[in-house]
Structure formats: structure tokens, C-alpha cells
Symmetry: C2
Subunit: 658 residues, 2 copies
């Protein structure tokens, strides 16, 4: 037996035993895709185990996240910081080998995966990022950036719409560094793939501008490694269709029964016998050495790259300077961003954001992003930034097409590649198309900004399908996502500040309509999430809270509440406010008021958590009809007279507190 | 000029003027797709304006919902209950011609559209429903059901993942009655389509098993009508690629500037001059008569169909009986469904739902549905129901593949076709993949059931990507969607009862893990949404509320709170509870308690609305790690001892109420 074949047998045995030991996991893909991934790791995947964050490393995305046991086994064998003991702790509470790969938990893992299809789109994002830097910094004789992005996907990933959207865009953009390893075993949980899917996958990829390579025997090491070598030469993205057998070597091979099951001890013993592996969780020295050859090759590459960079610094001093400062967290004078603020008064927040984004984009070259075909509507466009395209890798504006879900997941990939300040943008009503991508970026705590415009029922004539009512709430429900709904330019800039100073994703919620200017707002205060913008007493009896376009309305209401002690809290970001000290929060929303009022054109109930006594929630609890924005807004009760009446009525029935 | 060409000119002029008059709307597609839709309405679309709900009518879905002005113009001209005055009221508050087509608002409109891509998947669902009934009830010489499903989609719809998922499934299922009219104008909001999409659409459809027809001139009536006639003969789904010009006839034709804009009065005048239309909102008699020929043809068809059905009733009495009773709301003895209840005690709710679904499916033949490749895991499978496939139209189980979003939108289409009791199913963690479809069904108030299983962090080893934490809350945020999280078989059956007795969609939230039986639950009481299952006093001082698997835990906590007056409220469905009388609600959750406690393994804040004083929310506010279900659940605080401690601590700091 060749050493490589012996090694693959050990990969299979250890992966299967890892699952059996945990009594939980997915044996099917762990065995079926083992040859593909071993060939990748051994011969192609460029990594440096002594510096796994090395910028010009290859990226690998396990889109089929349920192949985690196989992945951990390979990481362990190739010298990443994953021990055999970690494999024994697979899927145990608190281990670094969780059920699906998790970013920041396991050395070498580039992205959290599990929800199918996401990884394919993440990989497209990484390939965009790679291409961008390659074009920006490489020069004749200097390949500063030239890594590949590999992604393992199964039948499941490829059925998902998010993957299809991303694949279509990747073909359009001719992302030649992207190599999709398709583990084609024709078996899913429900049984044979053809009950749900009879496409000609190769032809489908061709139609989308991809290079297609077919490997008839995905269990042959030589065939796998040859195919990957060939893919690397293509001038467009490549899918390699590896024909494999799910759960190969087990008694249930080729059937859905092996997909999500652990082998019993007896079944495992039979498999190991077949594989000629006697030991448990053990890697023989010859195999370890084989793997270390690849690991050393990666380390050596990194060293040579460092040398190359040193030469580059003297031959291309200007480029080198740009390169090393590209991802720098530059100090920004936020007040200066607002230099034209007075000219923006009364404009819509989407438009103001267009100005603000462009101010930042002048300072921070790492800003890039795009919209789901709504540039002229959301204004999230970098002027003179150019279109990112097959012919223009320098472009800073990505035209995602009408593909919100892929847009979200692709931006995750760009942020994962390196610390770009990346943004996506669509109407708030369509944020629900990209919910899974938003959740994944929150879970990974990566820096992606969303600009969601047309942020309330005030969108008007487009009607209820375009009215975001539940979206603000749905976004706030995502743990780790900051939802920032500014009332003016100052608060908007505060959101950028928060985004830059704290890690994690942020979603800006921006009006379509012009908004009245608000007094007493400030960047510094708004960066606390919530603060008082109006008050006629130290001990207000009525505390009104609002966000975005409802803040000026709240102030109007306060001013009309004659003879009442009132304060108005502008709350652009609950998540940030909730992180403040108890003392600060108590100062902004004091206990002991007679009435707490929230005003927000959404159906979010989260305001209730700030009510420290009787309360009124002015909200949108029903779909509204199509009509002029103002009319819809006012008919839904967002009108100062109406709210004053509600407050006065409630106060008359509420016992005043001492 | 031929009369048809004159008619199309009027369609264009009226559509454009409708938009100009409203100063809002999408002139581009209204003009560009006018010839296609006029040809469809005149020569192919089968409808009866005197009975627009006629079962065997064709279905038309305007997936490109922004073409609403064109659609309303055609509905008006062909005799539907849409007047020229209604066109003048386009997009006005409360009119029956809203910004995008809305189901139940406008005569003839089959489905609410606007969010792109949804309509394509809805149409696939309608074609499944048609096929199912066709196979079930047609007999030699009797075409009881033989209608077509037409769908107009643009470049935007086809980029959306939800459409791509549905298209792939439609090809697999060979849905020959489905005809997709693709308005291919190569222009989107951001500009030329090729900046975001360079696929070969025809080849892509071929690869997915579709019939493809190309119409080079989509502005030629003869070419359009011929292509549709040809499509009707295919034995697989057909896409007709009509090459059109966005905003044809205007000065901005062929550019994105005309996409979402209204023409100015001057531009409109120029267009009308070109079209030789002098009047405003006027249909000349010869055109009106031309349209009425089609309308009368439809009415005649319906009459003949009635005659055919009368003959069928005597030649095929058994089939006729089945046909007329197929959608009947049969009386169900809900208690009888539970005849095996005792055997199910302690099983998981997903498994119990498998039993319950099958009991109902025996009684109600209109039940059909499926899962996103998770049949063996969610148990939402009709035993002996067969697989719905190209070869077996009788199958009741649809294998959607790993395409959650399309699944949701396809089920909407099935429910829209006629009153099937249709269900979809996946893990709760992946409900976010189908959020837009869930919103659309809620907005349309149609009857679709979802079975979302693996409903909390107790899913265990699969880890945080598979832990639904925010999903229950996100679903509850959708206005009009009932979220039903039962604690046992009785409550589960109550959910079916609610679903059958009240209109609108429902999502069942079901455990992966076995649940302890709960005393005092009942179908009748649970059908009120919330009710008391445990109480040791008429005037409880501690009111504990919970749903699903947390109900037995709540009872355990109550029993451990020695010497305290406690009640436990099981709240399977907040939406239904909220509809009860104030008196009922006050009885279940009385004012005046010292403490209100909610226990639910989600991060939902909606429980706060039931706190009538001091409260404790036992919830999941962070992602949990991968590990054994029990362990994760308990470590997150879902453990009676811990909760008792929290309650006692809080009580000791809370002033008791009189």
C-alpha cells in the first residue's frame, strides 16, 4: 500500500472513531470526502502552522460543516493546534472540537459553518477579497497576494439558494482563485438525491461561466490531487465534481442511513479492519512525517514570502506603505466627517449616509461593499470607487445583483478574509432575505456593516410588502448584532464610531424620507446607545424614548405636553445602551416616573424592558396599506396630537408616584 | 394598424398614465411587458369574470409585482372588477389598486407579490397543486382539472435564490403546466444586467430540465402568443425568454432611469402621441369588445365545465364524491386523534407530531406537504402517502430538497391554489432561511402549517449554528403568524384545531428531545392560547408562565416553591391568547401577584407584556456551546433548583403586594 493510501485509511479510521467515541456526528461525509480533503491538505492547501493567520495563506471553507470530524482529524494530523485528545473530546461541552466548525474556537478554522450553503457564498467573498488585494498590490515579479480559496460543498449546499446566487455572481466576476470541491455522492437525508434534484450540475455551472472538472473516482488520491492542480490553472472559478460514496467502507455505504449516524463499536471495528488500522486515535510516524512535509512546505513558503516582502519594501516603497497600512485602524476625526452637516439638514438618512459613507471612504481605503441592485435608492455607493468586475478588480462597489442572501454571506467572507470595512445594503423590508447570513456574522462577531434603508411604514406607495414592520425587531433578536437607528447625521456618525471601536457587525436602519433636525444630539453621547436629548426637569414624570425618525416626533410630543415634567431619550442602539453601567442607564431612564412612552415605527416589544412603571408603546402592530408615506405614517398614529392625547389619557388613569 | 396592436397601444398608454397620475410606480416593466401580458390575457389566460374563483381557472402570478399598473390595466380591460376610476386611484391610501398586487384586495389577483422571486416559487406550488388534482380526478374524456399556471418574472426574480431553488425542483418534478414568462430586458436598477449577471439563462434552464423557448421580439404580439401556445404543449415546465425593451416608447427606453420612475406629463404626452392614443383612461369600444371576446370565452368554458362535471357525477359517482368533498372542512373528533396518547408519553414532540399528523392525514385527504430533506428527523411524513414525483402525482409527501426558502413559498402557492392543508418542515434553526415566505403567507392570511423541530438549545451536539435562540421571537414578530409551541400531545392537537378553525398560517415549534408529561393540559383549554395548568391558590403571589418543554419545568419549580401561592400558566400560543377577552386574560394572569416569571428557552422579550409587576425572565440570551442536550440546557439555567433560587432571591427583595 502506498503511504498516501495508508494515510487516508488513518484519516478515515480516526474520523469515524472520533464520531463513534462522541456517539454523535456525521460519518457519511467524513468518510466519503476524506480522500478529497487529504489530497487538498497534503499537496495544495497553503498554511503555516506556526502562524495560522498569515495573510497570504490559502483559505479553506468547510461549507459542508457536518464534515467537522474529518476536518479536525486533518487539522490535527497536519500540525494545527488540535490534539488527539481534542478529537476524543469531539462534541463535548466546552471542547475546541464542537459539533460544527466554529471560527475563533478551533485553530485553523476560517469560518463557522453548518447552515448549508453559507460557506459557498463565504468562499466567494474571500475570493473577491483576494482578487482585490492581488490587483492592488502585486507587481511584476512580486506576488504579494496569490492564495486560493477552497470550499468543500455537498449536494445540500448546492441546492440552497444562497449558494446558487453566489455561484452565479462568482461566474460573472470570473473569480479564478475560487475552487469549489463538490462532494457528489447523490445521497441526502431523505434518500437518493434524484427524488428532489435531477439537474445536470456540470451544465448548470457551465451556463454560469464556471470551469468544470469531473473526477469519476473521488476515492482516488491521484485523481483528486491532479484535478485540484488543474483547477488552479483556470482563468475562471472552478468546480471539481468528485463522484464519491457516502460512508465508504461501512456496511451502510451509499445510503442515507450513514449520513448523520455514528458507527457502533462493532461497525467501527469492521471498518478499521478493512482499513488495516489497529490503533485508536493514533497517527503512525510515517504518516505524521508525510503530513509534516506539507506543513514545513507551508512554513517555508511563508518565510520566502517575508523575504519577498522585504525586497518589495525597497523596490516598491509606495506600494509597500499602502500595503502595510491598508488594514490599519486609522484615527478618524469624526467631527470633521460632519463638516457639511448643515447642508444635509432635513434630508433623508439614506442620503445623508451616502455622504457620510463617502467621507469615510476617502479616509479608509479598506472600505468596500455594495447593494443588492439598489445603489440609486439606498445611496450606499462609493463615488468614483469604480465597479468591482471581472475587468476591474480595483472597483470598490460590488454589484451583487438582486441576491440579498448571497450579498450578506459574501460580505461575511470578505470580512473573514481580512479586516476590510465591508458593507452591504438593501431595503429594510428585504433584510429577511439575508437573515441567516446576518446571524452567522453575529455569531462570528465579524465586522460587517449593513445599510438598510426605507426603514418604516413611511416608505409609502410601495405598500405592505415593502413596509418593514417586524424587521427591526427581528434584527434586534439576533444575538451580537448591533442595530443602529440614528435620528440625524451626528447619530449616524456615532454608529460608524461604534462600529470601528467595538468588534462585531452592525446594521444601520435609515429612513427613506427626509427627517427634521434634532437639537442636542451628539456623536459622543449617541455612541452610548441612548441618551437624553430633551428635558425640562431633573425628575421627569414622563419619559419618552424613541429611535430614528421618531425622535423629532418625540420632542414635538414633549413640547406639547404642557405643564408636564418630561424627558426625551434618543435610543439609536439598544445593544450599546444595554452595555452601559447601571448608573448611566438609571440616569437616562430614571425610575419613579409616572409614565414611560416608547415611539418607534416598528412592532418591536423590546422597549418594554425600559418601562419602569406604567407605559405606552406607540408602535406599528398591523400591516398598513399602500399610500403616500406621510399619510400612512400619520394614519398609523405617528402624529404628535394623537400621542399627546394617549399620554394625557393614560396619565389621568395612572396614580402619580411620590 | 391591426386591432391587437391598437389595443396594446392603449394598454401601454393607460398603464403609463396610471403611474404618471399617481406620481409613483414602475413605468419600465409596465411598458416593456405589455405585449406579453396582453397576448396572454387575450388568447390564453382562462378566467371567468363572473366567478373569478372558478377552480379550473388558469392561475397567473405577477412575480414582478412592480408591474402592478400594467396588471390592473389588463384586469380592468378584460372585465374584472377593476374600474378606470380604480386606475386613477392607483397607489392611493385605501384604494383597491395598491402599489404592488395584493391578494384579497383586487379582483383577479391570485397572490400578493413584490418581494422578488417569491412569485416564481408560488407558481411552482400552484403547478404542483394542479398536477395533484389532475392526476387524482381526471379520467378518460374528463378533464376536471387542466389549467395552466403562468408567471411573469424579470431579471430580478430570476437572480433570487428562492426562484432558483423552485426552478430546480420544478424541473425535477416535470411540472408541465407551469409556464414562466421571462421579461428579459437586461436592465436592472443599478444599470446593465451584465454588471451583476452574465449567465446563459437558456442553458441554465436546460440544465435543470426545462423546456426553453426564445422570443427575439417580445414586442410582437404574434410572436408572443405563438410562443405561449407552443409552451402549452410541452411535457415539462417551460420558460419563454422574451427579449424586451424596458420602458419601450419613452425617451428613456432601454435604461435603468425608467425602471422605477413615473413619466412627467410631457413625457407621457410624447409617448401617447407615439402610441396614437389621445384619450386619458379610456378604452375604445372596439378594444373593449376585443377583450370581451376573451372574457366570454372564459365564461363559456366554465359553463361547459359545469356540464362536464354533471355528466362526470353520473359516470364517475365515486370520483365525483371524492372531488366535491376533497376540500371539505370535515368534522374531526380531536379527542379520538389522541387515542394512543398514553403510548406517546415522554416521547419528543417532533415524534408525537409524526403520529398526530398521520392521524389527521387519514381523515383529511387534502393534507400534503413535506420537508427540506429532513423527513427522518422532523417526522413530518405521511406514512404510505407516497412521494410526490414526476412519476407519482398522487404522492402526498413532497421532497423539497435542501431548499427551505422555496419550500415555504411553494407551500404558499399550494395553499393559494385551493384549500389544501399543506405543511412544510425543517429544523427551527433554519426557519430564518424561509423568513420572507413566512411573512408573505402571514400577510395573505393563508393556511399553511410549519413544523419546526429541534426547537431549543436542547438540540445538543450540533452546536450554536443549530441552536434556535432568536427564531421563536422572530416568528412571533411576523404579524398574523401563529406560533404554537405545545408542551404535550394534547396541546399539539389543540394547535391543529386552532389551525383548522381560524384562518391563517401557523408554525408549530416542537422539541427534539423527549418531554415529561404534564397534568391538567387539555385540547379545549390550550386552544385558548394560554391557561392555568397548576395552581395552589386562587390568588397566586407567583405566576409562572412557560411554553413547550419548559412547562413541565415550570410545574417542577412551582412544586418546589414551598409555602408559596403559585400558579403555572402554559402558553402554547401568545397570538391566540392575546385575542381572548380581557376577563379571561386577567383570570389566567391575575394582577396583584408579587412576581411574574417566564420560562422559555428562547431570547424572546414578548413575555414582558404579561408581567403585571416585578418579573424574572428565564431565557437564553447567548449562544451556547456544543455538547449534550441536557448539559447545555441545564448549564443555560434551565434547571428547577436554579430557577427556585432566582425566584426566592427576587421575592426577598420585592415588596409584597397587599
Amino acid at each position: 500500500m502506498r503511504l498516501v493510501d495508508k494515510a487516508i485509511n488513518y484519516v478515515k479510521a480516526i474520523s469515524a472513531e472520533t464520531i463513534t467515541n462522541a456517539k454523535s456526528g456525521h460519518t457519511g461525509v467524513a468518510l466519503g470526502a476524506s480522500t478529497i480533503l487529504f489530497a487538498l491538505f497534503k499537496d495544495h492547501y497553503r498554511f503555516d502552522i506556526s502562524d495560522t493567520d498569515f495573510l497570504n495563506r490559502d483559505r479553506f471553507v468547510l461549507s459542508a460543516g457536518h464534515a467537522s470530524a474529518l476536518y479536525y482529524t486533518l487539522l490535527s494530523m497536519f500540525g494545527f493546534n488540535v490534539s488527539l485528545q481534542d478529537l476524543k473530546d469531539f462534541r463535548k461541552y466546552g471542547s475546541k472540537t464542537p459539533g460544527h466548525p466554529e471560527y475563533h474556537v478551533t485553530d485553523g478554522v476560517e469560518v463557522t459553518t453548518g447552515p448549508l450553503g453559507q460557506g459557498v457564498a463565504n468562499a466567494v467573498g474571500m475570493a473577491i477579497a483576494e482578487n482585490k488585494l492581488e490587483e492592488r498590490f502585486n507587481s511584476v515579479g512580486f506576488k504579494i497576494i496569490d492564495n486560493y480559496v477552497y470550499c468543500l460543498a455537498g449536494d445540500g449546499c448546492l441546492m440552497e439558494g444562497v449558494a446558487q446566487e453566489a455561484i452565479s455572481l462568482a461566474g460573472t466576476l470570473k473569480l479564478s482563485k475560487l475552487i469549489l470541491l463538490y462532494d457528489s455522492n447523490d445521497v441526502t437525508i431523505d434518500g437518493n438525491l434524484n427524488i428532489a434534484n435531477r439537474e445536470n450540475v456540470a451544465k448548470k455551472f457551465y451556463s454560469m461561466g464556471w470551469n468544470v472538472i469531473k473526477v469519476r473516482n473521488g476515492n482516488s488520491y491521484s485523481a483528486c490531487t491532479k484535478a485540484i492542480a488543474q483547477a488552479k490553472k483556470a482563468n475562471k472559478p472552478t468546480v471539481i465534481i468528485f463522484r464519491t460514496t457516502i460512508g465508504i467502507g461501512t456496511q451502510k455505504e451509499g445510503t442515507s442511513a450513514i449520513h448523520g449516524a455514528a458507527l457502533s463499536q462493532d461497525e467501527l471495528a469492521l471498518l478499521k479492519e478493512k482499513l488495516k488500522v489497529k490503533e485508536s486515535f493514533y497517527v503512525p510516524n510515517d504518516i505524521r512525517e508525510l503530513c509534516m512535509v506539507s506543513a514545513r512546505k507551508g512554513k517555508l513558503f511563508h518565510e520566502k514570502w517575508n523575504q519577498q516582502l522585504a525586497i518589495y519594501s525597497s523596490t516598491h516603497p509606495e506600494l509597500y506603505k499602502q500595503f502595510t497600512s491598508f488594514f490599519e485602524k486609522k484615527n478618524i476625526n469624526y467631527e470633521k466627517i460632519l463638516k457639511n452637516e448643515s447642508k444635509w439638514a432635513g434630508e433623508s438618512l439614506r442620503k445623508i449616509n451616502g455622504y457620510v459613507l463617502n467621507e469615510f471612504s476617502k479616509e479608509l481605503l479598506q472600505i468596500m461593499g455594495g447593494t443588492a441592485d439598489l445603489g440609486p435608492s439606498t445611496f450606499a455607493v462609493i463615488e468614483n470607487g469604480g465597479k468591482f468586475s471581472a475587468g476591474n478588480r480595483r472597483g470598490r462597489n460590488i454589484h451583487f445583483g438582486i441576491r440579498e442572501h448571497a450579498m450578506g454571506a459574501i460580505c461575511n467572507g470578505i470580512a473573514l478574509y481580512e479586516d476590510f470595512m465591508v458593507f452591504d445594503s438593501t431595503f429594510l423590508a428585504f433584510a429577511n432575505y439575508m437573515m441567516p447570513a446576518l446571524k452567522m456574522r453575529a455569531m462570528m462577531n465579524i465586522n460587517v456593516m449593513s445599510f438598510f434603508t426605507h426603514d418604516s411604514i413611511a416608505v409609502g406607495e410601495d405598500g405592505p410588502t415593502h413596509q418593514p414592520i417586524e424587521q427591526v425587531s427581528q434584527l434586534r433578536n439576533i444575538i451580537g448584532l448591533k442595530v443602529f437607528r440614528p435620528c440625524d447625521a451626528r447619530e449616524l456618525v456615532a454608529g460608524y464610531k461604534v462600529s470601528r471601536e467595538q468588534n462585531g457587525p452592525i446594521s444601520f436602519i435609515l429612513t427613506r424620507q427626509g427627517v427634521a433636525p434634532v437639537e442636542n444630539t451628539s456623536i459622543e453621547k449617541a455612541a452610548n446607545g441612548g441618551y437624553v436629548v430633551y428635558s425640562n426637569s431633573d425628575k421627569p414624570k414622563v419619559v419618552i424614548m424613541a429611535s430614528g425618525s421618531e425622535v423629532p416626533l418625540a420632542v414635538e410630543v414633549a413640547e406639547k405636553l404642557k405643564g408636564k415634567k418630561v424627558s426625551v431619550v434618543s435610543m439609536p442602539c439598544q445593544e450599546v445602551f444595554d452595555m452601559q453601567t447601571e448608573a448611566y442607564k438609571e440616569k437616562v431612564i430614571p425610575s419613579g416616573a409616572d409614565l414611560y412612552v416608547s415611539i418607534e415605527a416598528s412592532n418591536d416589544l423590546s422597549w418594554l424592558k425600559y418601562f419602569k412603571g406604567a407605559g405606552i408603546r406607540v408602535a406599528v402592530d398591523n400591516y398598513q396599506c399602500s399610500g403616500k408615506g406621510d399619510e400612512v405614517y400619520q394614519n398609523a398614529g405617528f402624529e404628535s396630537k394623537n400621542i399627546v392625547k394617549l399620554i394625557e389619557k393614560k396619565l389621568s388613569t395612572t396614580k402619580p408616584k411620590k
